[in-house]
Amino acid sequence: MANYKNHVLVCSGTGCRASQGEEIVLNLEAEIEKNGLGEEVQVVRTGCFGFCEKGPVVKMIPDNTFYVQVTPEDASDLVSEHLVKGRQVERLLFTDPETKEKVADSKKMGFYKKQIRLALRNCGFINPENIHEYIARDGYAALGKAFTMKPEEVIQEIIDSGLRGRGGGGFPTGLKWDITRKVQAEQKYVVCNADEGDPGAFMDRSILEGDPHSVLESMAINGYCTGATKGLIYIRAEYPLAINRLKIAIEQARELGLLGTDILGSGFDFDVEIRYGAGAFVCGEETSLIHSMEGHRGEPTVKPPFPSESGYKGMPTNVNNVETYANIPVILLEGAKYFASIGTEKSKGTKVFALAGKVNNVGLIEVPMGITLREVIFDIGGGIKDGKKFKSVQTGGPSGGCLTEKHLDIPIDYDNLLASGSMMGSGGMIVMDEDDCMVSVAKFYLDFTVEESCGKCAPCRIGNKRLYEMLDKISEGKATEADLGRLRNLANVIKDTSLCGLGQTSPNPVLSTMDNFRDEYLAHVKDKKCPAGQCKSLLQYVIDAEPCIGCTACVRVCPVDAISGEKKQPHTINQETCIKCGACMDKCKFKAISIQ
């Protein structure tokens, strides 16, 4: 970056690109050229800054001015004002929701204040398509350092750091590496699990889009430690941008001799290939992932044997996910001690969460383990959208559970989340407000599980389907209290008997909502009411005779002719025929129609 006086960093993550991020880059470049600054200013497409809510984000270097919600039309102001005249473009600065003051430095924004960025250290800072920018920020130095150590020493460092798998299970990473190292075999493999399928989680994608080399470097380090010479990245085919950047990264690393034979003169050979997922959530499970890479249906097999002993093509295979790998260089360069100084007793370091749902600041955040849910949702997330009331937060995706008010002050780590009936999972964090019906939420996740169950074992294949059907019955007001008992027993049996992690955790959304929102279930079952007003069958659309002027607009829009009444007289809705589509309520200009 040395030759330029100024750098303009433009977020080129999937989210910001979808909001005309690329047009912003092109317009900025054109404006810079027009103002004759081509020699002095460089526009850099970076990975995700994380603050997706306020995207597209543009950041000015060296003064660190952070512009939000930029449009392509803003390019001329940014160049003529900020770059030419040295004046901040006030209207594009972030407004602190409390003080209403403009904030130019991201470090002073609530969203960033409590974050510690280790795995995401380069996202938003470098051009992911240029290996030299990665190297300039100590890229591949960890690999070089590893070469000066014995494999056992490197692994010991990782064990000492306390790093645990970030893909969901939380198995100690160093121990996993050590198992693979100790198994004797002709060929070993390093696999990066980038089949991020958790609906509502996108940290792996962001890392691969923003900092692909950190993953390549760590895979090489793993290869050095375990004796593996081949690396495979199993990535979702739905991530074209990440795939493209990975391909570029692999090519560049090969060109510089950082992948290939005799890396950095160490005598160590290592190369990486990309394998594509094809839309099966279960392939996030490591045995399924391996079968998929071998050209089979992604069905899991019973463990043991673990992939560390017998994995891809029957050979010892170390499988870690993207975020886990992204932490490795930090541990080697900053030391295990530094890493272990962050976090709680049993969960060290940081965790990336995809904060989404009914929260003001949707985005990708990285926080130290041990932070509370309250801090995440209210300090970083800026509280609940539209001033609504917090109801629940779902962590761990379809494998996790819905936590509530009483869990807000629990320090977040693997064990606390598990003890609360949820789990860390890959890091999805969905915030829900008073309008969300927890029966519907449980149903939503079960619908997902039913669709994604591989079908190999009976409890997951049939059990989850029946769970879904029972929840459906509840949401239609057709269930009894006895059904709740059956629902719980079935959920427990599915957990207890399923073959793989998918089925063993799929009932969590049901069990946690039953535990934490029992009254809401009872309301559906006993009173036949949906307190959040989400379950269609339990709603009634009614016309209030007073504001109704008999304009007949609702009659015309009703698809099933359920509304009747004389012109200019109050109308009524026939509840028998009404399909609760809500079209009448949308159409009524007099707010005469309400849900009861």
């Binding site: 099966a280 249906r297 069905e299 097999t301 019973v302 043991p304 039913v450 669709e451 994604e452 169950s453 591989c454 079908g455 190999k456 074992c457 009976a458 409890p459 294949r461 049939i462 059990g463 989850n464 389907k465 029946r466 059907e469 059956r486 027993n489 079935l490 049996v493 957990k495 207890d496 008997t497 399923s498 073959l499 063993q504």
Partner: protein, 588 residues
């Protein structure tokens, strides 16, 4: 041997390292229920996906329940196979499986023989608390096998049989989750697929999802038709297994009772396929010796080894998979088709009847035989040589329908002339038998000397691939034997690659040969059943006075009166066939 000590249901057990909880429990008399698991010892059939989860047990210190079939014993493990938690889980899983299964047990072909039904009884399931959507699939009625996949419980046994054991590769799990099921590509009918109709999928299916196509009603229609003369013939393996359907111990020979029952049912003539088996040896043996002498005379074009061709599943298999080698197998028809050809020519002539007035029924241990009857080359002017082929199971069903107390029947003998047979033909029913029968005859024809011993024990056994060298009085003859199509494929690939030094190879599609055929009483995973049947076959051979095919007086008479000589003009017309390249038939 490294061992592991553990406790199962509070009993101390010591087992070899690597033993599963399921196997360890068996050693102390604890039968953990299983559904998907099936292992046919001493064969390469093992289905162990760990998918049904009925065998779950509680292991102290473990978070969830462990599948006994897939969990290895570890030192000091404490296993409880029937805690409240286990029993509840097992029952709930079973209720789930039943909730996606039709409740038409009363009229299901598998009723009384169904592993799923047995399990529901064992676990005492009295109601299915889960009501919901059930899967529906189109039914598939091929000439041999019926698929009713809404009865499939995804145990994957058929998939293992079709792919791992038989390497036929017609079946695969398809779709995902609740919709998943086992089916041929594009859910096409088996009839359009590369299916060999070996029936091994049927033999291992725990439910009524895969069954044979039932032809017994058509047989009865023929019997009651006064214009038809109905002739039945029974394959050697049938008599070694039929008794099982009537509660007899596996391996009980019921030849005489079977003949008696067939007469009671009303067949006009009760003949023996074994007669045709002796005829097969005359033809195939002669063909072998013909090729051998050409080979010895230095003819480079002669195809050796010669492959047996009496197994229709096997014939289908090489037509699909080895179409470049269609000239390698013997051209001799299978005994079933030789029988039909002789019955509808020689015997029809004797009766003074037209072939259309005869109905030839065969009772076979096999489902591929049903398909074989439907092949066009086995028809004369559209009239098949064998009209109907029923399985051992269908015959048992007919006997039951006729209110015949099978166990109390007096033994009776087959009718003549097509009922006479030698011991050589009996052993056609087991792996190694055809080639042993061929050797008995070929040896004597070639050496013009009597065999030193009739029993060629080196050709017997249960190993999937076997080989032996037989000394033809100074001329070493190398014999290969394979049973199970996966094993056959290995031998065939060697032949294709020019690496085979065998002179003759016997191939049977089914594990164990015809005794393990797809039409036999269900073995439920017990290899002892197959072994007992094999023993019965050899003991029937020993009990015969005549034990070499060429000594069969009625076969000799047939050549004198009708056929001329083996591999002669008339034989070629009636007793030999040709094969088709089926590789490129439309597969959609």
């Amino acid at each position: 041997m490294e061992t592991v000590q553990l406790t199962i249901d509070n009993k101390k057990v010591e087992v070899a390292k690597g033993t599963t909880i399921l196997e360890a429990a068996k050693t102390i008399g604890v039968d953990i229920p299983t559904l998907c698991h099936m292992k046919l010892e001493d064969t390469n059939f093992e289905n162990n996906p760990g998918g049904c989860r009925v065998c779950v047990v509680e292991v102290a210190g473990r978070r969830n329940l462990a599948p006994a079939c897939k969990s290895e014993c570890t030192p000091n493990m404490e296993v409880n196979t029937h805690s409240v938690r286990v029993v509840n889980a097992r029952r709930t899983v079973m209720e789930l499986i039943l909730s996606d299964h039709p409740s038409d047990c009363l009229v299901c072909a598998k009723a009384g023989n169904c592993d799923l039904q047995d399990m529901a009884q064992t676990l005492g399931i009295r109601q299915i608390p889960f009501q919901g959507e059930k899967n529906e699939y189109k039914s598939d009625e091929s000439p041999a096998i019926i698929r009713e996949m809404e009865k499939c419980i995804m145990c994957r046994r058929c998939e293992t049989a079709c792919n791992k054991v038989q390497t036929v590769g017609v079946l695969s799990a398809i779709n995902r989750g609740f919709e998943s099921v086992v089916a041929p590509a594009f859910e096409m009918d088996l009839d359009h697929s590369n299916c060999t109709f070996c029936g091994q999928c049927v033999a291992v299916c725990p439910t009524g999802a895969l069954t044979e196509r039932d032809h017994s009603r058509e047989v009865l229609d023929a019997i009651v038709d006064p214009t038809k003369t109905v002739i039945v013939n029974t394959a050697p393996a049938v008599r070694a297994a039929l008794g099982e359907e009537f509660g007899m111990e596996a391996g009980t020979r019921v030849t005489g009772k079977m003949v008696s029952a067939l007469r009671k049912i009303g067949f006009d003539y009760v003949f023996d396929t074994d007669f045709a088996a002796d005829l097969t040896i005359m033809e195939e043996g002669t063909e072998l010796l013909g090729r051998l002498s050409k080979h010895l005379a230095g003819d480079k074009d002669v195809k050796l080894p010669i492959l047996t061709s009496c197994c229709p599943g096997w014939v289908n298999f090489f037509e699909y998979n080895f179409p470049d080698m269609l000239d390698v197998p013997s051209t001799a028809k299978s005994p079933q088709q030789m029988f039909g050809a002789i019955a509808k020519s020689y015997f029809a002539e004797k009766l003074g009847k037209k072939r259309e007035d005869l109905v030839v029924v065969s009772v076979m241990p096999c489902l591929a035989k049903k398909y074989e009857c439907s092949r066009d080359e086995f028809k004369t002017d559209g009239n098949p040589e064998v009209d109907l082929s029923i399985s051992t199971r269908e015959l048992a069903q007919m006997i039951k329908n006729y209110n015949i107390n099978f166990n109390q029947l007096e033994d009776e003998d087959f009718d003549q002339p097509l009922g006479e047979s030698t011991g050589a033909s009996v052993i056609f029913g087991t792996t190694g038998g055809v080639i042993e029968a061929a050797v008995r005859t070929a040896y004597e024809v070639h050496t013009k000397k009597e065999c030193p011993s009739v029993d060629f024990k080196e050709l017997r056994g249960m190993e999937g691939i076997r080989s032996a060298t037989i000394d033809f009085d100074g001329l070493p003859i190398n014999i290969g034997i394979a049973h199970g199509l996966g094993n056959a494929r290995k031998l065939l690939e060697d032949v294709r690659a020019g690496k085979s030094n065998f002179h003759a190879i016997e191939i049977m599609a089914c594990p164990g040969g015809c005794i393990g055929g797809g039409g036999q009483p269900y073995h439920h995973g017990k290899v002892e059943t197959l072994k007992a049947r094999q023993k019965a076959i050899y003991s029937e051979d020993e009990s015969k006075t005549l034990r070499k095919s060429h000594e069969n007086p009625f076969v000799q008479k047939l050549y004198e009166e009708f056929l001329g000589e083996p591999c002669g003009h008339k034989s070629h017309e009636l007793l030999h066939t040709h094969y088709y390249d089926k590789k490129n038939v439309d597969k959609k």
